[in-house]
């Protein structure tokens, strides 16, 4: 359901394994007018996308997304592992990453901040709250926040 051309500039990389959660997020973001969103279903695909590997081999790794929305519970490579990989690499450190997860567990939140996540947001269950939250995130990080590089 992603609409962006994989090789062009990308506003948001959405890393979410649950199809419905991804759809609801995409809906909310599109209402704001954000179109260049790529969604992937697991951590391995997320890293492949960023580094221009495997099915995303045509991508230029210098074109990084302006924002990454990262779920924690992912198949293949977990959200924490993706976060660790990106924040420890000089070339990708600066990309704003927001954990968007069902987990409210202190240990998950602390771990993410220790690894350098920019923000940790708990996914609301209520649809209206969910939409409001995802739109607040999109509005802040893409329209108001000044992004380096």
């Amino acid at each position: 359901m992603s609409s962006a051309n994989h090789t062009g500039p990308v506003d948001i990389l959405l890393v979410e394994d649950q199809q419905y959660d991804a759809e609801l997020a995409l809906r909310g973001l599109r209402e704001l007018g954000i179109e260049r969103i790529v969604d992937v279903r697991d951590g391995a695909a997320a890293l492949d996308f960023i580094y221009g590997r495997a099915e995303y081999a045509e991508r230029d790794p210098d074109h990084v997304p302006r924002l990454i929305l990262l779920d924690l519970k992912l198949p293949k490579v977990s959200g924490i592992e993706v976060l660790e990989a990106l924040k420890s690499d000089e070339k990708t450190q600066h990309i704003p990453i927001i954990t968007f997860s069902s987990s409210e567990e202190e240990r998950d939140i602390c771990r993410c901040y220790e690894l350098g996540v920019n923000s940790y947001v708990v996914k609301p269950v209520d649809f209206d709250e969910f939409t409001e939250t995802i739109q607040q995130i999109g509005r802040y990080w893409l329209k108001k926040n000044e992004i380096v590089c």
Partner: protein
């Protein structure tokens, strides 16, 4: 020579061996009580040693006392055997208790991890149910008649209720796992804070409130706040149907311990069902008469127990209910 061997040397060896074993066990069990047994065995050893010394000095007749040697030797052997067997039994009991405690800890951890995973896995499809039904209601409102819209409303309200249940389950599960942060808590201020928060939701029909003098307690601030929140929410809920709803928060001293209480003048409950009150999801009133998932009291009980205290309730049907709780007194 045979007599000395049988009545003095062998018992002495048996006694000394048992003393050795008992000393090792005293150290392993780290308990002082086996020393009493050791004292008895040592006395007996001294006596036998004395017999041997007398024999070496003055011969068999002086050392041994005729027929009495049989019961004496028997006593020595029985005392030694008794000590050894008793200590082994104690050690086995301790090992079993440790094993049992370990298993209980493991099961509890498993259960809490299970509750946590389940709650999170349940929330995802719930989000979808809530989301898509709301989208349906909004996007297709024109195509649905009143009945159709009502059906969707029921889906949404059921999703809400399920969300509340999951949140409550998660809170209950988290209580077992969370570390407690003990500080001195001003119970009076805490109760007032909670009351203010609850009063907001009861704009005009708020009950009359009385707060007594509440002595400070030692415990986890956020957990104790949860206890007051749950008890006061219940109190408000049950009192509001009365003509003159009243809620009282106070404390009294009983046998050196402080007993905090929250009382309301609502419908009360049947004391016969008092033991069900604190069960999770259990309601002692007709279902639907009073809102709530029924886990508030279970949570309060868990918190109070973690503080080493007790919680109970008394009521006269039709006249109201009072919930009492104590918290463990600190070592002060």
């Amino acid at each position: 020579m045979y007599e000395i061997f049988a009545f003095s040397i062998v018992p002495l060896v048996v006694l000394v061996a048992s003393i050795g074993y008992a000393l090792v066990m005293t150290y392993r069990l780290w308990d002082w009580r086996p020393l009493l047994f050791i004292a008895v065995l040592v006395m007996m050893s001294i006596h036998q040693t004395n017999e041997i010394i007398v024999y070496l000095d003055q011969g068999v007749e002086a050392a041994l006392a005729g027929f009495g040697e049989y019961p004496e030797t028997a006593a020595n052997v029985l005392a030694s055997l008794g000590t050894v067997l008793f200590l082994r039994w104690i050690r086995r009991e301790q090992a079993l208790t440790r094993q049992f405690e370990q298993r209980v800890k493991e099961r509890t951890a498993e259960l809490e991890s299970f509750t946590y995973s389940v709650s999170h896995d349940l929330r995802t499809p719930l989000r979808a149910i809530d989301g898509y039904s709301k989208m349906l209601r909004r996007g297709w409102a024109d195509e649905l008649d009143a009945e159709g819209r009502q059906l969707i409303d029921r889906i949404c309200s059921s999703a809400d209720r399920m969300k509340q249940l999951i949140d409550d389950l998660l809170t209950l599960s988290r209580l077992g796992r969370k570390d407690m942060k003990r500080t001195e808590v001003d119970m009076g201020t805490l109760a007032s804070e909670v009351l203010e928060e609850i009063e907001h939701t009861y704009s005009d029909s708020a009950p009359a409130i009385e707060i007594g003098d509440l002595p400070p307690a030692e415990g986890d601030l956020s957990m104790l706040k949860q206890v007051y929140s749950n008890l006061l929410t219940n109190a408000f809920k049950f009192a509001q149907n009365e003509e003159r709803p009243q809620v009282e928060v106070g404390a009294r001293t009983k046998d050196d311990a402080t007993v905090y209480y929250v009382a309301d003048n609502g419908t009360g409950f049947d004391m016969d069902h008092a033991d069900q009150l604190f069960d999770a999801f259990q309601s002692v009133h007709d279902n639907g008469e009073f809102e709530g998932t029924g886990i508030g009291l279970a949570i309060a009980e868990r918190i109070v127990q973690r503080h080493g205290g007790e919680i109970w309730a008394e009521s006269t049907a039709g006249e109201g209910a009072t919930f009492y709780f104590t918290l463990c007194q600190s070592t002060s």
